[in-house]
Assembly symmetry: C2
Homo-oligomer: 504 residues x 2
């Protein structure tokens, strides 16, 4: 198996993720998080909330409906602009996403081309239906939003939101007032969004129903060149792949300001996002970059747009997992015009339409990135070397044998640990096999209770990456594990060296 198959195999069999409604042969683009994947997702979300909502006391989270009125998307421009190019086979009537079909056939980049350019490429290169060799029809736009009918009369068309961002724009007026009209302020949403992809590929990576974590920062556009923490980041280097660049470069924030002419408020948030990836998610720098998007690639509402890309071995290179979008006043102005409500803000004597900076993250792609980047194989085992803050299971508890009062002691320890950590009890199979099973899902520590434990009240803690083992007193176990999880103590200094190693 190659790496992507290995990860998929573990994901499906251990309970990270698997196709949704799988017993009915699922539809592409729909996946379920199993019990371990849900833990990993929740831990990533908790990390995200703590970091991004902690940036300012004026940033808050809201939680909104997924079904929204048609007028929202008339104002936002999604009804007109949120389209994918579609071509249909004249013979078998199968439909394809035209840019993907062309990219596959010609090994070229067709993103961002218009209908005519795509149709011309199909004709010039005599491309035919990959299914039945039939003739392909001219390319048309296909709107990617799901519509549905609400109410018994059936004449109220509403839509599933295609991005979480519209929720803060719709709630902006209420929250601006409830939060006492302070600017800048931020509204985050962590929730589901829906896109009717024509033919989603790449398994768990391109989804029809997925999760976004987005922070919309509303600010005074007159202050886009201000940044009170500028001095702390001006020499900080950001890894950027420029529009026509071949390799990413490390550019200081100062260089991005003076040479690349980006505004300070934007650069500051590039630094914030990079720090989240490198310092909190612990992504190695070689697997991280910002990529500047071209005019053609940018979403229709963005004035400045850099994506965060991570390197996925299982997807053959760098792929988008987040974006920093300067949306300007596109959204609030659209909703002001569409709704007739005044959405302006006031700061001092300044009356203005706030501009929006959007920090946008695909939750599922980030979860998948953790699994791809931290997947590690050595001679005897595979394991996920997740940071302790992201492991689905913190600690596993093993009785060496199922007799002689060892299970009773192990269960008592498990009962104590489960209130403090996500703990898992396993008494089946050899200790070596139990270690492998926990390694495979990235559990950071294992605690084993053996015959000596009954005599001296010591237990063994084993660390995942190094496979080293120490002995600690049962009474110190909770506090020692807390220190180990937070990284405030080195593993080998946290206990006594082991006399005899438990069988690996």
């Amino acid at each position: 198996m190659d790496k992507s198959e290995e990860i998929l195999h573990i994901a499906q069999n251990r309970g990270f993720f698997y196709p949704s409604a799988e017993i009915y042969s699922s539809k592409a683009g729909f996946w379920t998080y199993g019990h371990l994947g849900t833990r990993l997702k929740h831990k990533w979300e908790a990390l995200w909330r703590r970091y991004f909502l902690g940036l300012s006391p004026n940033y808050f989270e809201i939680d909104d409906c997924n079904i929204m009125p048609k007028k929202v998307f008339e104002s936002s421009g999604h009804l007109k602009n949120f389209n994918d190019p579609l071509t249909e086979c004249e013979k078998c009537h199968f439909r394809f996403r035209a840019d993907q079909l062309i990219e596959d056939a010609l090994n070229t980049n067709a993103a961002g081309l218009n209908e005519d350019a795509l149709t011309k490429l199909i004709i010039d290169n005599k491309l035919v239906c990959p299914k039945c060799q039939g003739k392909l029809m001219p390319v048309k736009w296909f709107n990617m939003m799901f519509d549905l009918k609400v109410g018994a009369t059936g004449d109220d068309v509403m839509y599933l939101r295609p991005e979480s961002a519209q929720s803060p724009f719709l709630a902006y007026k209420r929250e601006y007032e409830a939060l006492r009209k302070k600017i800048p302020f931020g509204l985050a949403v962590l929730g589901r969004v829906y896109r009717n992809e024509i033919s989603p590929r790449q398994g768990f990576f391109r989804l029809r129903e997925f999760n976004q974590a987005e922070l919309q920062i509303f600010f005074n556009p007159a202050k886009i060149s201000e940044c009170k923490d500028w001095d702390s980041i001006k020499n900080y280097k950001i890894k950027v792949l420029k529009e026509n660049g071949k390799d990413a470069e490390e550019l200081s924030c100062n260089t991005l300001l003076t040479k690349n002419k980006l505004p300070k408020f934007y650069i500051y948030h590039m630094a914030i996002m990079q720090k989240f990836y490198l310092e909190l998610m612990r992504i190695p720098k070689e697997s991280f970059q910002f990529r500047e998007l071209s005019d053609k690639e940018r979403a229709f509402y963005n004035k400045i747009h850099y994506d965060v890309e991570l390197k996925f071995d299982s997807l053959n290179g760098f792929k988008e997992v987040a974006g920093l979008h300067y949306r300007g006043d596109h959204d609030l102005l659209g909703h002001q015009n569409g709704s007739g409500q005044n959405l302006e803000a006031i700061e001092g004597n300044d009356k203005f339409m706030p501009h929006v900076l959007e920090l946008s993250f695909g939750i599922d792609r980030n979860v998948y990135a953790l699994m791809d980047i931290f997947y590690t194989e050595d001679k005897e085992r595979s394991y996920f070397s997740f940071p302790a803050s992201l492991t689905p299971i913190d600690v596993a508890v093993f009785p060496l044998v199922n007799k002689d009062n060892i299970p009773e002691m192990a269960e008592a320890i498990f009962d104590k640990l489960k209130n403090e950590f996500k703990a898992f009890y396993d008494d089946a199979g050899s200790i070596g096999r139990r270690y492998r099973r926990q390694d495979e899902i990235g559990t950071k520590f294992e605690v084993t209770i053996d015959y000596d434990s009954l005599k001296d009240n010591d237990v063994t803690i084993r660390e995942r990456d190094s496979m080293k083992q120490i002995r600690v007193k049962v009474d110190d176990l909770v506090s020692t594990l807390h220190k180990l999880m937070s990284g405030s103590i080195e593993f080998e200094k946290a206990g006594k060296p082991l006399k005899k190693k438990t069988e690996e």
Copy 2:
């Protein structure tokens, strides 16, 4: 304003909840959680997870798509049975939910009646369209699921899930295997569900898009009369309103077993649910009851069904907020037949189709119940007396004045507190008004920094319900607040008495 108007006013203006897409005059049944409501919801969800997933090391949460294939609902019975009765006006073609229209007109209970019985009531009582006095057509069933088309060909009909329960049933096979085939095991979902209500009323209480917290316990039906903790609950009294009863009675678990013939496994979970409401949510016993549902009222899949009802002043009495549903093998058997997959389990030498006990909670109704039940008015103020574990904001920090180095000290304290608690900084208006604003949203403690603080490094903590105040050292503030939040110390013993009270 009456109580329901008061709560709605606070909810909308302070950021608990407000109509979704409100600037476009929202559709009934769709609401947004604002920044305080989102906190309240998250805290309730955290309490739920800690308690219900903590019941067994073999209970886990999963996270699934909201869009599901049609076959799921053929097997589950929802396509055939998940209907509301509909009547239409011949003249204006407005559609009504027939049972509600009859209940309003005749002041009777029409729940659970079939089409013919409802039609007969309309004819016999000469009921007409409430809008235009036109003639009403015979009652028909209306399916409450939202359907949508997936893929570019438009011929793949899928549905938004009308209950979260189907997700565990679909994931059961994968998780049973990933969790090493242990029975009983439990799968929880906290997520959105969707019902196309014909004409939702009651504001935030009856929604078209809402949130459920459900735990599905898969167990061996041969063991439904077993309960290893029976001795600990057999004398515990449960408050139950029987099918034809007028008032709820307190019945011991033993009585429910011997007189009411309920199985032990079911009674045990009634006790578990009641304890969650009385001990964790701190609902007063007089506002809580289980209600037995009649055959007509029970959902089509339930063998035994008691609802948890709480007393809402703003809704004129007891209303359903949760249910304990013995679904038997209805779901797994349906999915085994529909999918052709073997869904049986094995325990020892026993091979069987697991039965399901469902603990089902409407998250939004529980959040609303907290606001209704803990809303308190006295002479000078209104406040939410939420338990400390459920307050949206834990502690507010006030500088007495905005000069003389007091803001600097207050900000330093706020920076320390915000890492440990959900903290809010407010420096606008008189101290008395700032207290009122925090009372109104249920903040449990306020910390005020005054001129004395600069000299003696003491600050004032004020408690919401009693409005009492104490002085504590800044260095002890975090640990004192932790003790106060967890209830491990009495307020007046947590600091020195106050020499002069800050202005209320």
